[in-house]
């Protein structure tokens, strides 16, 4: 008889906040085979286009995922705006950029916490989430929701944020930055933490490219691919470089996300300094017709929002290719041969969002 164990990992599993199931075949602690399964949170929201008109769909889109909720809503709106040929006001673009980066901040801090939880460092998890609360407070103050912002609409933003508040955000971020820096030192320099990250789950540059990885996952393998550099929203006016790292291991992915935290803070500072005055929305009339594929850089990587409309108030098709969907095949590549204790690491270092993956 073989000395291999066959065990289910998930869908319920305390280390995975979201349900994902993996059939694990183990030899001692070594993973020799891993077949994933999703579908536990599949709702079928893409098909809601038949029941909700294209305006209402904003609320559905933002609930594709509660973490980068804002970005989902925004991407959807942007896609429809493109189809309809609507140009939104500059101030709205800048505001969208601020909220996008706030989302990225809270998402990355959240992820850092989950990663810490995944390798059993509870205090670090607590610290990360404690700092994250400050970001959520900003979200709540500006949008009225901690996670689900409900400020997007086709044609711009439903709410403006006055400059005083924006500057207070920058102020808060300035205070937060050194605290975050102190915390991330543990991720980056603590040798015990390094022992869990270094060389774990290496994804080579070639594999990362061929298997279609996106986001920090891809950038950590040395490919400077960041859709923000294409200059949508206000990114064209902002000075930033994609963060990359070359090792392609879990440590590199952690380091990339950490550097992106500081990059986001910097982007917000630049945006607030440059934000023009004016309206935050334009009126939109008529129904969309045509198709468009919107590309945005979400915290987890590039998301594609494909919208196809036929001139009625109901869209013909909305399809979301989320970053995690693209990242699962390369993740499988990493799982083989890792240790059981690394399985959560592997899953977490792609920063999975099963909710949006399954929609």
């Amino acid at each position: 008889m073989s000395t291999r164990s066959v065990v289910p990992f998930g869908p319920h599993h305390p280390v995975l906040p979201e349900p994902i199931h993996i059939d694990l075949v183990l030899e001692d602690e070594k993973v020799v085979e891993a077949v994933p399964s999703i579908g536990f949170v599949h709702r079928g929201l893409e098909k809601l286009v038949e029941k909700k008109d294209f305006n209402e769909m904003v609320f559905v889109a933002e609930r594709t995922c509660g973490i980068c909720s804002y970005m989902h809503g925004m991407s959807y709106c942007a896609a429809v705006e493109h189809v309809m040929g609507v140009e939104i006001p500059e101030r709205a673009k800048y505001l969208r950029t601020v909220w996008c980066e706030l989302s990225r901040l809270h998402s990355h801090l959240l992820w850092l916490g989950l990663l810490a939880d995944g390798f059993g460092f509870e205090s670090l998890f607590m610290q990360a989430w404690r700092l994250r609360e400050k970001i959520l407070d900003m979200s709540e103050a500006s949008t009225g929701g901690r996670l689900i912002s409900s400020v997007n609409k086709i044609g711009g933003q439903r709410k403006d944020v006055d400059n005083a508040m924006l500057h207070s955000f920058v102020e808060t971020l300035n205070q937060l930055e050194p605290e975050i820096r102190t915390m991330v030192r543990t991720f980056l320099e603590d040798s015990a933490v390094r022992s869990r990250l270094d060389g774990v789950g290496v994804l080579s540059k070639e594999k990362a490219h061929d298997l279609g990885a996106v986001g920090p996952f891809l950038r950590a393998s040395g490919i400077p691919f960041d859709i923000r550099t294409t200059g949508y929203l206000a990114y064209g006016d902002i000075d930033f470089e994609p963060v990359t790292s070359s090792e392609g291991d879990s440590y590199a992915r952690t380091a990339v996300r950490i550097n992106e935290i500081f990059q986001s803070i910097d982007i917000i500072r630049q945006v607030v300094a440059k934000i023009p005055d004016g309206d935050v929305a334009v009126p939109v009339k008529g129904f969309p017709k045509g198709e468009y594929m919107m590309r945005v850089e979400q915290p987890r990587g590039e998301a594609l929002y494909y919208v196809k409309a036929n001139g009625t108030k109901f869209l013909e098709r909305m399809r979301i290719r989320t970053p995690t969907f693209a990242n699962i095949p390369p993740m499988l590549e990493m799982l083989k041969g890792c240790q059981l204790a690394d399985v959560p690491m592997m899953v977490l270092t792609i920063d999975p969002c099963i909710s949006c993956t399954e929609r």
């Binding site: 609930r63 404690r130 709540e140 103050a141 009225g144 320099e189 390094r194």
Partner: protein, 158 residues
């Protein structure tokens, strides 16, 4: 590379006040924009039903005949779309959220018969001893609020 790199933060935490908010002992102040629950100024509402049509989750029920407007806090996603869509601007988003409960109650507002002298009667009501929720959960949002009647006498009294 270091060990115990986190100890400094820990000791700092140990000797400073915890970050914990003493909720619920101390009620929480919410920012002005916080989206909690919806209230209706029934003096102004014309029961046109537009809000109910726009609501993405069908949380609002407008009963023209019974002159009531009700909202299920357990269906509302606090998107504020109704507030935006209402032609009379009588809806408002309050900061406090609907309280958790053992039943998925609805909040019913009754249109005053006369131009009301006092404030509108808003009553959070729930079905009294209520059967197990699982049983009546088929389409909770669409169920015309049972407490409408229950709330009515109260409203009529003043």
């Amino acid at each position: 590379m270091s060990l115990f790199s986190f100890a400094k933060t820990e000791f700092k935490n140990l000797f400073s006040k915890p970050a914990t908010r003493p909720y619920p002992q101390q009620p929480r102040e919410y920012p002005e924009r916080t989206r909690g629950h919806i209230e209706n100024d029934m003096d102004v509402c014309i029961l046109c039903g537009l809000c109910s049509k726009k609501c993405p989750t069908g949380a609002i029920t407008v009963d023209r005949a019974g002159k009531t407007w009700s909202i299920s806090g357990f269906s509302c996603i606090q998107c504020g779309y109704c507030v935006e869509s209402c032609p009379k601007k009588c809806l408002s988003m309050k900061q406090s959220y609907t309280q958790p409960d053992a039943q998925k109650g609805t909040n019913t507002f009754v249109k005053p018969e006369q131009p009301a002298p006092a404030k509108p009667a808003a009553e959070a009501a729930k079905p009294a001893p209520a059967p197990k929720p699982a049983a009546d959960a088929e389409k909770p949002a669409a169920v015309p609020a049972v407490p409408a009647e229950a709330a009515e006498p109260a409203a009529k009294q003043d």
